[in-house]
């Protein structure tokens, strides 16, 4: 890892937007692949009659367990290999369905230098093609300062 390559604290300003990540249109096949990979048999994700007739959902549901990883990918895709995703938080506020296209987005809301590292907080979320913000959250990333030390790995935590 050279000192100049990759994202550094000095490259980041309040209000910056993270490069967005698009997933979809998500099909039943994607959802089946995910459910099988993690061995989660919740039928609202792949059993259409069950989801619609029994659980009265409008369509098959995308897994929250999958959506949370998309937000992690969004932030790591921006911050690594120099930075470290130290903390992430998201709420499953709305439903995304099979057929939806999901856009993961982020925006820098806080920048602070602490103990020789840059600590950056981002507002993040997942938005579907209907414009619904289904999964709002925040992420905190540690970045190196230009000419400063590397972000430690393993990461000791953000502490106070």
């Amino acid at each position: 890892m050279t000192d100049t390559a990759g994202l550094h604290f000095e490259d980041v300003s309040f209000g910056d937007e993270l490069p967005s990540l698009v997933r979809g249109p998500m099909t039943t096949t994607h959802v089946m692949r995910w459910s099988a990979a993690i061995e989660n048999w919740h039928r609202i994700h792949y059993d259409q009659p069950f989801a619609v007739e029994h659980d009265k959902l409008p369509a098959l549901l995308l897994n929250g367990s999958w959506k949370q990883h998309v937000l992690v990918q969004l932030v790591r895709g921006w911050a690594e290999p120099t930075g470290w995703l130290a903390h992430i938080k998201m709420s499953f506020r709305g439903m995304d369905f099979v057929g939806d296209t999901i856009t993961a987005w982020g925006r820098v809301t806080e920048v602070e230098e602490r103990d020789g590292l840059g600590i950056v907080v981002c507002e993040i979320g997942l938005r579907n093609q209907r414009g619904e913000e289904t999964t709002p959250g925040t992420a905190t990333v540690a970045l190196p300062l230009r000419g400063g030390r590397e972000v430690p790995y393993p990461f000791p935590g953000l502490g106070g």
């Binding site: 994607h30 990979a37 048999w41 895709g77 995703l85 938080k89 998201m90 790995y153």
Partner: protein, 175 residues
Amino acid sequence: MGFVTEEIAALVGVPGPRFTALGPLGADELRRFTQAVMEPNPVHWDEQAARASRYGAVVASPLYVLHAFRRAPGTPDPLDRLGVERDWDGLDVAAGFGGLPPVEIPLKRVLNGGTEAEFFRLARLGDVISAQARYVEIVDREGRTGPMVLATIETVYENQDGEQLARVRSTVIFR
């Protein structure tokens, strides 16, 4: 009047059993997961890329730990339940609670409210992941559709050397 009785509130803070993955994290298991989650970072499959990175070896993505625990071979098949209960939703509710005693309240719907996670290191191929959970909060709330209960479970994930990988808080909504 809420659902969170003294007895239920007393569950908060009591550590659950330590549970451990069936075996070391395998390359094929990680490949299947990485492809299903549509993870683009090569440190999760490419040895050369991984060796050149801070990780030094192929690692799982940070939230993989949530999916590290599977049903042991030879244990009862949970899908047998569909033979006697056609309308079962297929969701093993207990599995989401990390071996903690259930929150016994007369609210039927169980929803995934959200996730909060701190990451310290990523699990490497060959790591044996273990975890321990506890309730950190169980509270009554008035929701849009009526009363609900929010239970927050904190789970600490470690590797076989007792090194912390992640600390994850999951919020379960009963309503």
